[in-house]
Protein backbone atom coordinates (compact mmCIF):
# COMPACT_ATOMS: atom_id res chain seq x y z
CA UNK A 1 0.00 0.00 0.00
CA UNK A 2 1.25 3.41 -0.89
CA UNK A 3 2.08 5.57 2.15
CA UNK A 4 -0.14 8.57 2.75
CA UNK A 5 1.91 11.62 1.97
CA UNK A 6 -0.79 14.30 2.12
CA UNK A 7 -3.32 15.16 4.82
CA UNK A 8 -5.84 17.89 5.50
CA UNK A 9 -5.14 19.81 8.67
CA UNK A 10 -7.10 22.58 10.35
CA UNK A 11 -4.85 25.23 11.85
CA UNK A 12 -6.14 27.58 14.55
CA UNK A 13 -3.72 30.47 14.51
CA UNK A 14 -3.36 32.96 17.37
CA UNK A 15 -3.82 36.57 16.21
CA UNK A 16 -3.21 39.72 18.20
CA UNK A 17 -1.94 43.19 17.51
CA UNK A 18 -1.17 45.09 20.69
CA UNK A 19 -1.64 48.40 18.85
CA UNK A 20 -5.21 47.69 17.68
CA UNK A 21 -6.62 44.75 19.68
CA UNK A 22 -7.80 44.43 23.26
CA UNK A 23 -8.03 40.68 23.10
CA UNK A 24 -6.44 37.97 20.98
CA UNK A 25 -8.50 35.88 18.57
CA UNK A 26 -7.89 32.85 16.37
CA UNK A 27 -8.07 32.51 12.60
CA UNK A 28 -8.75 29.08 11.17
CA UNK A 29 -7.21 27.72 7.98
CA UNK A 30 -7.63 24.26 6.50
CA UNK A 31 -4.69 23.25 4.36
CA UNK A 32 -3.46 20.13 2.63
CA UNK A 33 -0.04 19.37 4.04
CA UNK A 34 2.61 17.00 2.80
CA UNK A 35 4.94 14.79 4.78
CA UNK A 36 7.97 16.91 3.90
CA UNK A 37 6.56 20.08 5.40
CA UNK A 38 7.55 21.69 8.67
CA UNK A 39 5.48 24.20 10.64
CA UNK A 40 7.37 27.14 9.17
CA UNK A 41 6.26 26.06 5.68
CA UNK A 42 2.66 26.32 6.87
CA UNK A 43 3.19 29.76 8.38
CA UNK A 44 4.74 30.88 5.09
CA UNK A 45 1.86 29.44 3.08
CA UNK A 46 -0.71 31.18 5.29
CA UNK A 47 1.16 34.46 4.99
CA UNK A 48 1.85 34.21 1.27
CA UNK A 49 -1.45 32.67 0.11
CA UNK A 50 -4.07 33.73 2.68
CA UNK A 51 -3.19 36.65 4.93
CA UNK A 52 -0.09 38.76 4.44
CA UNK A 53 -0.56 40.40 7.82
CA UNK A 54 0.32 37.23 9.81
CA UNK A 55 3.47 38.03 11.75
CA UNK A 56 6.12 35.62 13.04
CA UNK A 57 9.88 35.51 13.40
CA UNK A 58 11.98 33.42 11.04
CA UNK A 59 15.57 33.48 9.96
CA UNK A 60 18.02 30.60 9.53
CA UNK A 61 15.58 27.76 8.72
CA UNK A 62 18.19 25.35 10.05
CA UNK A 63 17.28 25.05 13.73
CA UNK A 64 20.19 27.16 14.89
CA UNK A 65 19.07 30.79 15.20
CA UNK A 66 16.29 30.03 17.66
CA UNK A 67 13.90 32.81 16.61
CA UNK A 68 11.05 30.76 15.16
CA UNK A 69 10.14 29.05 18.45
CA UNK A 70 6.35 28.93 18.98
CA UNK A 71 3.86 26.54 20.56
CA UNK A 72 1.72 23.97 18.80
CA UNK A 73 -1.01 22.47 21.00
CA UNK A 74 0.95 23.68 24.03
CA UNK A 75 4.24 22.11 22.97
CA UNK A 76 7.17 24.46 22.46
CA UNK A 77 8.81 23.83 19.08
CA UNK A 78 11.10 25.36 16.49
CA UNK A 79 8.80 26.03 13.54
CA UNK A 80 11.60 25.26 11.09
CA UNK A 81 12.43 21.90 12.64
CA UNK A 82 9.08 20.48 13.63
CA UNK A 83 7.50 18.17 11.06
CA UNK A 84 3.77 18.39 10.49
CA UNK A 85 3.28 14.67 10.28
CA UNK A 86 4.88 14.16 13.68
CA UNK A 87 2.56 16.77 15.19
CA UNK A 88 -0.46 15.16 13.52
CA UNK A 89 0.56 11.83 14.99
CA UNK A 90 0.77 13.41 18.46
CA UNK A 91 -2.26 15.69 18.37
CA UNK A 92 -4.48 14.76 15.44
CA UNK A 93 -5.58 16.91 12.50
CA UNK A 94 -6.48 20.05 14.43
CA UNK A 95 -3.45 22.06 15.44
CA UNK A 96 -3.44 25.25 17.47
CA UNK A 97 -0.54 27.57 16.72
CA UNK A 98 0.32 30.10 19.41
CA UNK A 99 3.22 32.28 20.45
CA UNK A 100 5.57 30.85 23.10
CA UNK A 101 3.90 33.09 25.68
CA UNK A 102 0.46 34.46 24.85
CA UNK A 103 0.68 37.10 27.56
CA UNK A 104 3.88 38.50 26.00
CA UNK A 105 2.48 38.66 22.45
CA UNK A 106 3.24 41.86 20.55
CA UNK A 107 1.89 40.85 17.17
CA UNK A 108 0.55 37.38 16.41
CA UNK A 109 3.35 34.88 17.06
CA UNK A 110 5.94 37.52 17.89
CA UNK A 111 6.58 37.98 21.60
CA UNK A 112 8.55 40.41 23.71
CA UNK A 113 11.44 38.28 25.01
CA UNK A 114 12.88 41.03 27.21
CA UNK A 115 12.52 39.06 30.46
CA UNK A 116 14.32 36.12 28.87
CA UNK A 117 17.28 38.22 27.71
CA UNK A 118 17.48 40.18 30.97
CA UNK A 119 17.63 37.01 33.03
CA UNK A 120 20.09 35.45 30.63
CA UNK A 121 22.37 38.49 30.95
CA UNK A 122 22.32 38.32 34.77
CA UNK A 123 24.20 35.01 34.89
CA UNK A 124 27.18 36.47 32.96
CA UNK A 125 26.82 34.14 29.98
CA UNK A 126 30.38 34.56 28.81
CA UNK A 127 33.81 33.29 29.67
CA UNK A 128 35.89 35.38 32.05
CA UNK A 129 39.53 34.49 32.30
CA UNK A 130 43.08 35.71 32.41
CA UNK A 131 43.87 36.42 28.80
CA UNK A 132 47.42 36.50 27.56
CA UNK A 133 47.54 39.43 25.13
CA UNK A 134 50.20 37.71 23.04
CA UNK A 135 49.57 33.98 23.35
CA UNK A 136 52.12 31.60 21.89
CA UNK A 137 49.74 28.64 21.79
CA UNK A 138 46.06 27.78 21.99
CA UNK A 139 44.40 27.56 25.39
CA UNK A 140 43.64 23.87 25.11
CA UNK A 141 40.89 22.16 27.04
CA UNK A 142 41.22 18.42 27.47
CA UNK A 143 38.39 16.23 26.12
CA UNK A 144 37.71 15.18 29.72
CA UNK A 145 37.21 18.80 30.80
CA UNK A 146 35.20 19.64 27.68
CA UNK A 147 32.80 16.80 28.53
CA UNK A 148 31.92 18.56 31.78
CA UNK A 149 29.91 21.10 29.79
CA UNK A 150 27.56 18.24 28.90
CA UNK A 151 25.21 19.61 26.25
CA UNK A 152 24.92 23.05 27.86
CA UNK A 153 26.56 24.88 24.97
CA UNK A 154 24.02 23.55 22.46
CA UNK A 155 21.55 26.18 23.73
CA UNK A 156 20.35 28.53 20.97
CA UNK A 157 18.37 30.84 23.30
CA UNK A 158 15.09 30.00 21.58
CA UNK A 159 13.22 30.43 24.87
CA UNK A 160 11.14 27.25 24.51
CA UNK A 161 12.10 26.07 28.00
CA UNK A 162 11.81 29.50 29.61
CA UNK A 163 8.26 30.03 28.36
CA UNK A 164 7.22 26.49 29.22
CA UNK A 165 8.55 26.70 32.77
CA UNK A 166 5.70 26.93 35.29
CA UNK A 167 7.95 28.61 37.86
CA UNK A 168 8.82 31.40 35.38
CA UNK A 169 5.13 31.82 34.60
CA UNK A 170 4.21 32.41 38.26
CA UNK A 171 7.33 33.94 39.79
CA UNK A 172 8.69 36.93 37.84
CA UNK A 173 12.00 36.76 39.65
CA UNK A 174 12.79 33.14 38.80
CA UNK A 175 15.63 33.15 36.27
CA UNK A 176 14.44 30.07 34.45
CA UNK A 177 15.97 26.98 32.90
CA UNK A 178 17.80 28.63 29.98
CA UNK A 179 19.62 31.13 32.21
CA UNK A 180 20.58 28.30 34.57
CA UNK A 181 21.83 26.12 31.72
CA UNK A 182 23.94 29.06 30.60
CA UNK A 183 25.23 29.68 34.13
CA UNK A 184 26.24 26.04 34.30
CA UNK A 185 27.86 26.12 30.87
CA UNK A 186 30.32 28.83 31.90
CA UNK A 187 30.76 27.80 35.53
CA UNK A 188 31.68 24.29 34.41
CA UNK A 189 34.30 25.64 32.01
CA UNK A 190 37.76 25.04 33.47
CA UNK A 191 39.06 28.29 31.90
CA UNK A 192 36.46 30.45 33.64
CA UNK A 193 37.40 32.51 36.71
CA UNK A 194 33.95 33.74 37.79
CA UNK A 195 32.37 30.41 38.52
CA UNK A 196 31.78 31.17 42.18
CA UNK A 197 30.14 34.55 41.43
CA UNK A 198 27.76 32.79 39.11
CA UNK A 199 27.01 30.16 41.74
CA UNK A 200 26.17 32.92 44.21
CA UNK A 201 23.75 34.40 41.65
CA UNK A 202 21.96 31.11 41.13
CA UNK A 203 21.92 30.45 44.89
CA UNK A 204 19.51 33.30 45.68
CA UNK A 205 16.05 32.53 47.04
CA UNK A 206 13.13 33.23 44.67
CA UNK A 207 15.35 33.92 41.64
CA UNK A 208 17.76 31.00 41.98
CA UNK A 209 17.74 27.25 41.41
CA UNK A 210 15.91 26.47 44.63
CA UNK A 211 12.55 27.56 43.21
CA UNK A 212 12.63 24.96 40.45
CA UNK A 213 9.45 22.85 40.72
CA UNK A 214 11.12 19.80 39.11
CA UNK A 215 8.42 19.28 36.50
CA UNK A 216 11.03 18.18 33.90
CA UNK A 217 9.28 20.23 31.22
CA UNK A 218 12.52 22.01 30.26
CA UNK A 219 14.12 18.66 29.51
CA UNK A 220 11.09 17.59 27.51
CA UNK A 221 10.63 20.72 25.45
CA UNK A 222 14.22 21.65 24.53
CA UNK A 223 14.60 21.27 20.73
CA UNK A 224 18.38 21.03 21.12
CA UNK A 225 18.34 18.45 23.94
CA UNK A 226 20.18 20.70 26.35
CA UNK A 227 18.37 19.06 29.29
CA UNK A 228 18.38 22.21 31.47
CA UNK A 229 17.15 20.49 34.63
CA UNK A 230 20.25 18.30 34.60
CA UNK A 231 22.27 21.53 34.72
CA UNK A 232 20.05 22.89 37.48
CA UNK A 233 20.84 19.76 39.50
CA UNK A 234 24.54 20.27 38.75
CA UNK A 235 24.31 23.87 40.00
CA UNK A 236 22.72 22.61 43.21
CA UNK A 237 25.61 20.18 43.61
CA UNK A 238 28.22 22.85 42.84
CA UNK A 239 26.66 25.22 45.38
CA UNK A 240 26.98 22.56 48.08
CA UNK A 241 30.45 21.51 46.96
CA UNK A 242 31.69 25.11 46.93
CA UNK A 243 30.45 25.45 50.51
CA UNK A 244 28.31 28.50 49.67
CA UNK A 245 24.91 26.92 50.31
CA UNK A 246 23.06 29.17 52.74
CA UNK A 247 21.36 27.70 55.74
CA UNK A 248 17.73 28.12 54.63
CA UNK A 249 14.55 26.16 54.08
CA UNK A 250 15.56 25.08 50.57
CA UNK A 251 19.02 23.77 51.43
CA UNK A 252 17.85 22.11 54.63
CA UNK A 253 15.07 20.47 52.63
CA UNK A 254 17.63 18.77 50.35
CA UNK A 255 19.96 17.85 53.22
CA UNK A 256 17.07 16.66 55.38
CA UNK A 257 16.55 13.66 53.12
CA UNK A 258 20.04 12.37 53.93
CA UNK A 259 19.43 12.78 57.69
CA UNK A 260 16.11 11.02 57.54
CA UNK A 261 17.31 8.13 55.40
CA UNK A 262 20.26 7.65 57.77
CA UNK A 263 17.87 7.35 60.69
CA UNK A 264 14.98 5.35 59.23
CA UNK A 265 15.85 4.29 55.69
CA UNK A 266 12.54 5.85 54.78
CA UNK A 267 11.76 9.54 54.84
CA UNK A 268 10.33 10.88 58.08
CA UNK A 269 7.88 13.30 56.44
CA UNK A 270 7.02 15.27 59.55
CA UNK A 271 10.62 15.60 60.65
CA UNK A 272 11.65 16.72 57.15
CA UNK A 273 9.20 19.62 57.33
CA UNK A 274 10.36 20.53 60.86
CA UNK A 275 14.03 20.32 59.95
CA UNK A 276 13.53 22.34 56.73
CA UNK A 277 11.34 25.04 58.23
CA UNK A 278 12.89 25.22 61.71
CA UNK A 279 10.96 25.05 65.00
CA UNK A 280 9.14 28.32 64.40
CA UNK A 281 8.62 28.10 60.63
CA UNK A 282 7.04 24.69 61.03
CA UNK A 283 4.13 26.22 62.94
CA UNK A 284 2.51 27.48 59.73
CA UNK A 285 2.01 23.87 58.68
CA UNK A 286 0.12 22.97 61.85
CA UNK A 287 -3.41 23.60 60.49
CA UNK A 288 -2.89 21.24 57.54
CA UNK A 289 -1.05 18.75 59.76
CA UNK A 290 -4.01 18.65 62.16
CA UNK A 291 -6.42 17.96 59.31
CA UNK A 292 -4.13 15.22 58.07
CA UNK A 293 -3.76 13.79 61.57
CA UNK A 294 -7.52 13.56 61.95
CA UNK A 295 -7.62 11.45 58.77
CA UNK A 296 -4.86 9.10 59.89
CA UNK A 297 -2.28 10.60 57.54
CA UNK A 298 0.39 11.46 60.10
CA UNK A 299 2.64 8.83 61.62
CA UNK A 300 3.78 9.80 65.09
CA UNK A 301 7.55 9.74 65.72
CA UNK A 302 7.44 6.64 67.90
CA UNK A 303 5.57 4.74 65.19
CA UNK A 304 7.89 5.78 62.36
CA UNK A 305 8.44 2.73 60.11
CA UNK A 306 12.00 1.71 59.26
CA UNK A 307 13.51 -0.05 56.27
CA UNK A 308 14.62 -3.63 56.86
CA UNK A 309 18.42 -3.97 56.87
CA UNK A 310 18.78 -0.37 57.96
CA UNK A 311 22.39 -1.12 58.94
CA UNK A 312 23.22 -1.55 55.24
CA UNK A 313 21.71 1.83 54.41
CA UNK A 314 23.57 3.49 57.25
CA UNK A 315 26.85 1.90 56.20
CA UNK A 316 26.33 3.09 52.60
CA UNK A 317 25.50 6.62 53.70
CA UNK A 318 28.74 6.70 55.69
CA UNK A 319 30.89 5.37 52.88
CA UNK A 320 29.18 6.98 49.86
CA UNK A 321 28.51 10.53 51.02
CA UNK A 322 30.46 13.01 48.93
CA UNK A 323 29.48 16.37 50.47
CA UNK A 324 29.00 17.97 53.85
CA UNK A 325 26.59 20.73 54.88
Amino acid sequence: MEAITKQNVTFKVFRFNEETDYLPYYNTYTLEVTHEEVVLDILNRIKWDHDGSLSYRRSCRHGICGVCSIKVNGKGILACKSRLFELIEAFGNELTIEPLSTKRAIKDLIIDKKDFWDKHAVVKPFLTGDIDEAPTSEHLVSPHDAEKLLEADYCIQCGACHYSCPAVEINDQFMGPAAFASAYRFSADVRDTESEDRLHLTNEEASGVWDCVKCMECAEVCPKEVNPIEKITKLHNMIFEAGIAKNNVATRHAVGFAHSIAKHGLLDEGELVRYSEGNIGVLKHVPVALKMFSKGKIVLPWNMPKSDKLDEIQKLIKSSSTVKF
Binding site: D211, H236, D308, E312, T322
Partner: protein, 293 residues
Protein backbone atom coordinates in the same frame (compact mmCIF):
# COMPACT_ATOMS: atom_id res chain seq x y z
CA UNK B 1 -2.46 -15.51 31.07
CA UNK B 2 0.56 -16.26 33.25
CA UNK B 3 0.13 -14.81 36.73
CA UNK B 4 1.80 -11.43 37.02
CA UNK B 5 4.33 -10.96 39.79
CA UNK B 6 6.32 -7.86 40.64
CA UNK B 7 8.66 -6.49 43.29
CA UNK B 8 6.79 -3.62 44.92
CA UNK B 9 8.71 -0.47 45.84
CA UNK B 10 6.16 1.30 48.00
CA UNK B 11 8.02 4.55 48.54
CA UNK B 12 7.62 6.49 51.78
CA UNK B 13 4.21 8.15 51.50
CA UNK B 14 2.40 4.81 51.18
CA UNK B 15 3.80 3.99 54.64
CA UNK B 16 3.02 7.39 56.12
CA UNK B 17 0.80 10.16 54.73
CA UNK B 18 -1.13 8.16 52.13
CA UNK B 19 -2.02 4.90 53.91
CA UNK B 20 -5.04 4.65 51.59
CA UNK B 21 -2.68 4.29 48.67
CA UNK B 22 -1.04 1.22 50.20
CA UNK B 23 -4.42 -0.27 51.08
CA UNK B 24 -5.88 0.29 47.63
CA UNK B 25 -2.75 -1.00 45.87
CA UNK B 26 -2.99 -4.29 47.75
CA UNK B 27 -6.77 -4.52 47.34
CA UNK B 28 -6.57 -3.95 43.58
CA UNK B 29 -3.61 -6.29 43.11
CA UNK B 30 -5.62 -9.00 44.87
CA UNK B 31 -8.64 -8.41 42.63
CA UNK B 32 -6.51 -8.51 39.52
CA UNK B 33 -4.56 -11.56 40.68
CA UNK B 34 -1.26 -9.69 40.58
CA UNK B 35 1.31 -10.86 43.13
CA UNK B 36 3.33 -8.08 44.73
CA UNK B 37 6.46 -8.90 46.75
CA UNK B 38 7.14 -5.86 48.91
CA UNK B 39 10.75 -4.67 48.98
CA UNK B 40 10.85 -4.10 52.71
CA UNK B 41 14.59 -3.39 52.56
CA UNK B 42 14.15 -0.40 50.22
CA UNK B 43 15.10 3.09 51.32
CA UNK B 44 13.62 6.43 50.30
CA UNK B 45 14.48 7.29 46.67
CA UNK B 46 15.54 10.81 47.64
CA UNK B 47 12.42 12.26 46.05
CA UNK B 48 14.32 14.38 43.48
CA UNK B 49 15.93 16.41 46.30
CA UNK B 50 18.65 14.17 47.74
CA UNK B 51 20.45 14.27 44.38
CA UNK B 52 20.62 18.06 44.62
CA UNK B 53 22.67 17.61 47.77
CA UNK B 54 24.58 14.43 47.03
CA UNK B 55 24.08 12.91 43.60
CA UNK B 56 26.36 9.92 44.15
CA UNK B 57 24.69 8.95 47.40
CA UNK B 58 21.32 9.14 45.68
CA UNK B 59 22.57 6.79 42.94
CA UNK B 60 23.95 4.28 45.46
CA UNK B 61 20.72 4.17 47.47
CA UNK B 62 18.51 3.82 44.39
CA UNK B 63 20.81 1.16 42.92
CA UNK B 64 20.52 -0.73 46.21
CA UNK B 65 16.72 -0.67 45.94
CA UNK B 66 16.85 -2.02 42.40
CA UNK B 67 19.40 -4.66 43.46
CA UNK B 68 16.78 -6.10 45.81
CA UNK B 69 14.26 -6.36 42.96
CA UNK B 70 16.97 -8.10 40.94
CA UNK B 71 17.50 -10.60 43.76
CA UNK B 72 13.88 -11.63 43.32
CA UNK B 73 14.36 -11.75 39.56
CA UNK B 74 11.34 -9.48 39.19
CA UNK B 75 10.40 -6.23 37.51
CA UNK B 76 10.19 -3.46 40.09
CA UNK B 77 6.81 -1.78 40.27
CA UNK B 78 6.57 1.69 41.76
CA UNK B 79 3.42 3.38 43.00
CA UNK B 80 4.78 6.92 43.15
CA UNK B 81 5.75 8.98 40.12
CA UNK B 82 8.78 10.46 41.83
CA UNK B 83 10.02 7.05 43.01
CA UNK B 84 9.55 5.96 39.39
CA UNK B 85 11.58 8.84 37.97
CA UNK B 86 14.41 8.59 40.49
CA UNK B 87 14.68 4.85 40.15
CA UNK B 88 14.39 4.79 36.36
CA UNK B 89 16.86 7.68 36.06
CA UNK B 90 19.36 5.78 38.23
CA UNK B 91 18.89 2.66 36.15
CA UNK B 92 19.33 4.60 32.91
CA UNK B 93 22.51 6.29 34.10
CA UNK B 94 24.09 3.11 35.42
CA UNK B 95 23.11 1.04 32.38
CA UNK B 96 24.68 3.62 30.05
CA UNK B 97 27.85 4.38 32.00
CA UNK B 98 30.08 1.43 32.89
CA UNK B 99 32.43 3.57 35.01
CA UNK B 100 29.62 4.95 37.12
CA UNK B 101 28.11 1.50 37.50
CA UNK B 102 31.49 0.15 38.68
CA UNK B 103 31.82 2.98 41.21
CA UNK B 104 28.32 2.39 42.56
CA UNK B 105 28.90 -1.37 42.68
CA UNK B 106 32.12 -0.87 44.62
CA UNK B 107 30.01 0.74 47.34
CA UNK B 108 27.22 -1.83 47.14
CA UNK B 109 29.84 -4.60 47.48
CA UNK B 110 30.52 -3.30 50.99
CA UNK B 111 27.10 -4.59 51.98
CA UNK B 112 27.25 -7.68 49.79
CA UNK B 113 25.04 -6.36 47.01
CA UNK B 114 25.45 -5.81 43.28
CA UNK B 115 23.48 -3.77 40.78
CA UNK B 116 23.34 -5.80 37.58
CA UNK B 117 20.76 -4.00 35.49
CA UNK B 118 18.58 -7.07 35.05
CA UNK B 119 15.29 -5.73 36.47
CA UNK B 120 13.00 -3.29 34.68
CA UNK B 121 11.39 -0.48 36.64
CA UNK B 122 7.84 0.53 35.83
CA UNK B 123 4.98 2.37 37.47
CA UNK B 124 1.95 0.28 38.45
CA UNK B 125 -0.16 2.27 35.95
CA UNK B 126 1.99 1.08 33.05
CA UNK B 127 2.30 -2.44 34.46
CA UNK B 128 -1.49 -2.60 34.34
CA UNK B 129 -1.69 -1.15 30.84
CA UNK B 130 1.24 -3.01 29.28
CA UNK B 131 1.15 -6.35 31.10
CA UNK B 132 -2.39 -6.83 32.43
CA UNK B 133 -4.33 -5.03 29.74
CA UNK B 134 -7.17 -2.53 29.86
CA UNK B 135 -9.48 -4.85 27.95
CA UNK B 136 -9.24 -7.31 30.80
CA UNK B 137 -9.93 -4.57 33.36
CA UNK B 138 -12.98 -3.62 31.35
CA UNK B 139 -14.26 -7.19 31.48
CA UNK B 140 -13.80 -7.28 35.25
CA UNK B 141 -15.69 -4.05 36.00
CA UNK B 142 -18.74 -4.75 38.15
CA UNK B 143 -19.62 -1.20 39.13
CA UNK B 144 -18.84 1.05 36.17
CA UNK B 145 -18.03 4.69 36.90
CA UNK B 146 -20.33 5.87 34.14
CA UNK B 147 -22.02 8.52 36.27
CA UNK B 148 -18.81 10.45 36.78
CA UNK B 149 -16.79 12.96 34.85
CA UNK B 150 -13.27 12.13 35.95
CA UNK B 151 -10.30 14.44 35.47
CA UNK B 152 -6.99 12.60 34.99
CA UNK B 153 -3.99 14.25 36.62
CA UNK B 154 -0.91 12.55 35.24
CA UNK B 155 1.89 13.90 37.43
CA UNK B 156 5.16 15.13 35.91
CA UNK B 157 7.41 12.30 36.93
CA UNK B 158 5.49 9.61 35.07
CA UNK B 159 5.48 11.40 31.72
CA UNK B 160 8.64 13.53 31.55
CA UNK B 161 11.25 13.21 30.24
CA UNK B 162 9.34 11.00 27.79
CA UNK B 163 12.48 9.56 26.23
CA UNK B 164 13.42 8.02 29.58
CA UNK B 165 9.87 7.07 30.55
CA UNK B 166 9.11 5.39 27.24
CA UNK B 167 12.18 3.14 27.51
CA UNK B 168 10.04 0.76 29.54
CA UNK B 169 6.58 1.37 28.06
CA UNK B 170 5.08 -0.82 25.41
CA UNK B 171 2.35 1.78 24.93
CA UNK B 172 4.36 4.96 24.40
CA UNK B 173 3.15 8.09 26.14
CA UNK B 174 3.33 11.59 24.66
CA UNK B 175 4.08 14.11 27.40
CA UNK B 176 1.96 16.76 25.65
CA UNK B 177 -0.95 14.48 24.96
CA UNK B 178 -0.81 11.59 27.42
CA UNK B 179 -3.54 8.98 27.19
CA UNK B 180 -2.78 6.18 29.69
CA UNK B 181 -4.83 7.53 32.56
CA UNK B 182 -7.65 8.62 30.25
CA UNK B 183 -7.73 5.08 28.84
CA UNK B 184 -7.83 3.67 32.36
CA UNK B 185 -10.78 5.92 33.27
CA UNK B 186 -12.61 4.74 30.16
CA UNK B 187 -11.81 1.10 30.96
CA UNK B 188 -13.36 1.64 34.41
CA UNK B 189 -16.50 2.90 32.68
CA UNK B 190 -15.93 6.56 33.58
CA UNK B 191 -16.09 9.66 31.42
CA UNK B 192 -12.63 11.18 30.97
CA UNK B 193 -12.42 14.94 31.15
CA UNK B 194 -9.98 16.93 29.04
CA UNK B 195 -8.36 20.04 30.52
CA UNK B 196 -5.14 21.98 30.05
CA UNK B 197 -3.60 21.18 33.42
CA UNK B 198 -3.86 17.40 33.19
CA UNK B 199 -0.17 17.00 32.28
CA UNK B 200 1.06 19.99 34.30
CA UNK B 201 2.87 20.28 37.62
CA UNK B 202 1.03 20.17 40.97
CA UNK B 203 3.79 22.14 42.73
CA UNK B 204 4.54 19.49 45.34
CA UNK B 205 8.32 19.61 45.08
CA UNK B 206 8.50 23.36 45.69
CA UNK B 207 5.96 23.47 48.51
CA UNK B 208 8.42 24.46 51.21
CA UNK B 209 10.91 26.48 49.14
CA UNK B 210 8.45 28.31 46.89
CA UNK B 211 5.06 28.09 48.61
CA UNK B 212 3.33 30.67 46.41
CA UNK B 213 4.41 29.03 43.14
CA UNK B 214 3.39 25.64 44.51
CA UNK B 215 -0.01 26.87 45.69
CA UNK B 216 -0.83 28.56 42.37
CA UNK B 217 0.02 25.38 40.47
CA UNK B 218 -2.24 23.33 42.76
CA UNK B 219 -5.00 25.91 42.40
CA UNK B 220 -4.71 25.99 38.61
CA UNK B 221 -4.88 22.21 38.42
CA UNK B 222 -8.03 21.88 40.51
CA UNK B 223 -9.63 24.93 38.86
CA UNK B 224 -8.90 23.47 35.42
CA UNK B 225 -10.60 20.21 36.37
CA UNK B 226 -13.58 22.03 37.92
CA UNK B 227 -14.03 24.24 34.86
CA UNK B 228 -14.06 21.14 32.69
CA UNK B 229 -16.99 19.93 34.78
CA UNK B 230 -15.13 17.15 36.55
CA UNK B 231 -16.80 15.44 39.50
CA UNK B 232 -13.46 14.29 40.81
CA UNK B 233 -9.81 13.90 39.89
CA UNK B 234 -7.63 10.81 39.72
CA UNK B 235 -3.85 10.54 39.87
CA UNK B 236 -1.22 7.79 39.81
CA UNK B 237 1.07 9.86 42.07
CA UNK B 238 0.70 10.04 45.86
CA UNK B 239 2.66 13.31 45.96
CA UNK B 240 0.24 14.97 43.53
CA UNK B 241 -2.49 13.43 45.65
CA UNK B 242 -1.16 14.99 48.84
CA UNK B 243 -0.95 18.38 47.16
CA UNK B 244 -4.37 18.27 45.53
CA UNK B 245 -6.15 16.63 48.47
CA UNK B 246 -4.65 18.43 51.46
CA UNK B 247 -3.52 21.84 50.17
CA UNK B 248 -6.61 23.31 48.54
CA UNK B 249 -6.97 25.98 51.22
CA UNK B 250 -3.59 27.54 50.35
CA UNK B 251 -4.30 26.98 46.67
CA UNK B 252 -7.64 28.80 46.90
CA UNK B 253 -6.04 31.76 48.64
CA UNK B 254 -3.23 31.85 46.08
CA UNK B 255 -5.49 31.96 43.03
CA UNK B 256 -8.28 33.99 44.67
CA UNK B 257 -10.96 31.41 44.07
CA UNK B 258 -12.35 28.53 46.11
CA UNK B 259 -11.22 25.28 44.57
CA UNK B 260 -11.73 21.78 45.86
CA UNK B 261 -12.48 18.40 44.35
CA UNK B 262 -12.25 14.87 45.68
CA UNK B 263 -9.05 13.28 44.40
CA UNK B 264 -8.66 9.54 44.09
CA UNK B 265 -5.56 7.48 43.71
CA UNK B 266 -5.55 5.51 40.47
CA UNK B 267 -5.75 2.32 42.53
CA UNK B 268 -8.85 3.56 44.35
CA UNK B 269 -10.57 4.32 41.08
CA UNK B 270 -9.87 0.82 39.74
CA UNK B 271 -10.92 -0.62 43.07
CA UNK B 272 -14.28 1.14 43.00
CA UNK B 273 -14.99 -0.13 39.48
CA UNK B 274 -14.02 -3.65 40.48
CA UNK B 275 -16.34 -3.60 43.48
CA UNK B 276 -13.93 -3.03 46.36
CA UNK B 277 -15.47 -1.40 49.42
CA UNK B 278 -14.75 2.14 50.60
CA UNK B 279 -12.97 0.79 53.66
CA UNK B 280 -10.79 -1.56 51.60
CA UNK B 281 -9.73 1.46 49.57
CA UNK B 282 -9.12 3.68 52.58
CA UNK B 283 -11.44 6.43 51.37
CA UNK B 284 -11.81 7.74 54.92
CA UNK B 285 -8.17 8.86 54.84
CA UNK B 286 -8.83 11.76 52.47
CA UNK B 287 -8.80 15.35 53.67
CA UNK B 288 -11.13 16.46 50.86
CA UNK B 289 -14.09 14.21 51.50
CA UNK B 290 -14.87 11.59 48.87
CA UNK B 291 -18.53 12.55 48.77
CA UNK B 292 -19.95 10.12 46.26
CA UNK B 293 -19.32 6.71 47.83
Amino acid sequence: MKELKYALFTGCTAKESTPEQMMSTLAVAKKLGIELIELTEASCCGASHLQDYDDFLSLVLNARNIAYAEKHGLTMVTICNTCQLNTAMTKHRLDHNADLKAKVNAKLAEVGLEYKGTSQVTHFLYAIIDDFGLDKIKEMVVKPLSQFNIAPFYGCHNIRPSELQNETHQNKENAYNPTSLDDLIIACGGVNVDYNEKNKCCGFHAELQAPHTAAVLTGNAVAGAMDANADWMVTPCPLCHLKLDTQTHHASVAIGRDVSLPVLHMQQMIGLALGCTASELGLKHHVTKVNFV
